[in-house]
Symmetry: D2
Subunit: 139 residues, 4 copies
């Protein structure tokens, strides 16, 4: 079990009022939960800049599946970086466009190279890299 | 078939040299491909700020599956927003942590509300919303 | 005088340890100060998306002062938006390039339009809009 | 004089139409100007991640000048980092709050440390670092 530690935070009255407004808009159940989220966000950002840390995330690409060569290239690159790829999910958006979500895990630098390589393929319309975390340091 | 149009761009010599360096680092096959990507990126960003447009993307959450109540809450919220959810992908990161990638499609504002609701659940360690595109306006 | 209110926050032990590491790297004097900063950051971001709120910030542009027409255009636009501009600061970076920092205050939408107009001038090499706050709601 | 080089870009018709719409909304005078801005933006972002490069920017802080100790601390830190600071601009926002805009130039890492140090001072309500460029590589 994880032990919860407790400490006090002091805030000017007006700042606390604004924070409570934010909490209710975002539907947090209490202040601790909202503050934990703020802290985790800055820690995850830091993880992605430390090159020796293992990170986890997802690469999301949109492309036109009619271009046969493109599909072959996508598969070939994914094989080259096979040790980074956990699984992938494919969605038919409409007649022309596909969305592919590739779950990735590995060293930050390698994951970013894979995302760049997929983005640079002719015919890939959009690519984003979503930076998440293995949660190891966040408990 | 999509028709390709061609137009000329003029750049100072030094700026072009730096751009060509960037292109080779990112492994683009040619300048047009790199410029198309820059243009698509700003257009996709714009889409997400227009409330009446349909967008597509992915919500990625990390959580500890040992917390039974949490899992029930995740499922219940996903049902409430069922019309936004296309599919989801589940990965066991390690003994404690799960990664769930939820593909979403709908009006930008609703998708952001769903992401906020999932993030605010006690026990969800990290949540990101990755903003992609249906590709409709990008051809 | 502003009254300070105090409340308790509970955190898993490991998360607190990581947060304390972050605090010492960033040279915060205590946890409350770091948490106040995290809270203010999200509140300021929110301010800039509420169109009816008055915001404050700075527009920073880099340009080549040798282009005479450019300088005239910069001045003319700044006069058109005169009610938004508080003061400006000019720095000679090197033989060719100038940095101009324009302090701005007004409705978020108007300030963004001014920044876009300056950025779009031929010869302006770079423009950034830095979003700060009047501090009214932050005490 | 800088020589302008010209090259052709090919775009799908629909993407070009959307780009032209963006250009007119942002008030660009022509496509080349808008594309030069997109290219400069990604190059400036890259500059700030290369530690050996000299960058230029501005740190913007908001604080309550009634706190005497705070003002002394601000001055003392600015002296410690004196070689990074080009000039500064001070604005009285309202009865309590001051806005200070500090123009900075130096190695990216040092500039970021200065920004962090100012942000961490108790009483500084908000601090942003605006990343611009000496324009050396952008012509």
């Amino acid at each position: 079990m994880t032990e919860l530690l407790r400490f006090g935070v002091s805030l000017p009255e007006k700042l606390l009022k604004e924070f409570d407004l934010y909490i209710s808009q975002r539907k947090y159940s209490n202040r601790s939960e909202a503050i934990r989220d703020l802290i985790r966000d800055i820690l995850v950002k830091r993880e992605w800049f430390e090159n020796e840390k293992e990170v986890i995330g997802a690469i999301i690409i949109v492309y036109d599946h009619h271009k046969r060569e493109l599909v072959n290239k996508l598969i070939s690159i994914q094989h080259d970086f096979g040790d980074l790829i956990l699984s992938s999910q494919h969605i038919h958006i409409n007649h022309n466009n596909c969305l592919e979500i590739i779950a990735v895990k590995g060293l930050s630098e390698k994951v970013r190279t894979l995302a760049d390589s997929l983005k640079a393929i002719k015919g890939v319309k959009h690519a984003t890299l979503s930076m998440s975390t293995t949660g190891m340091d966040l408990v």
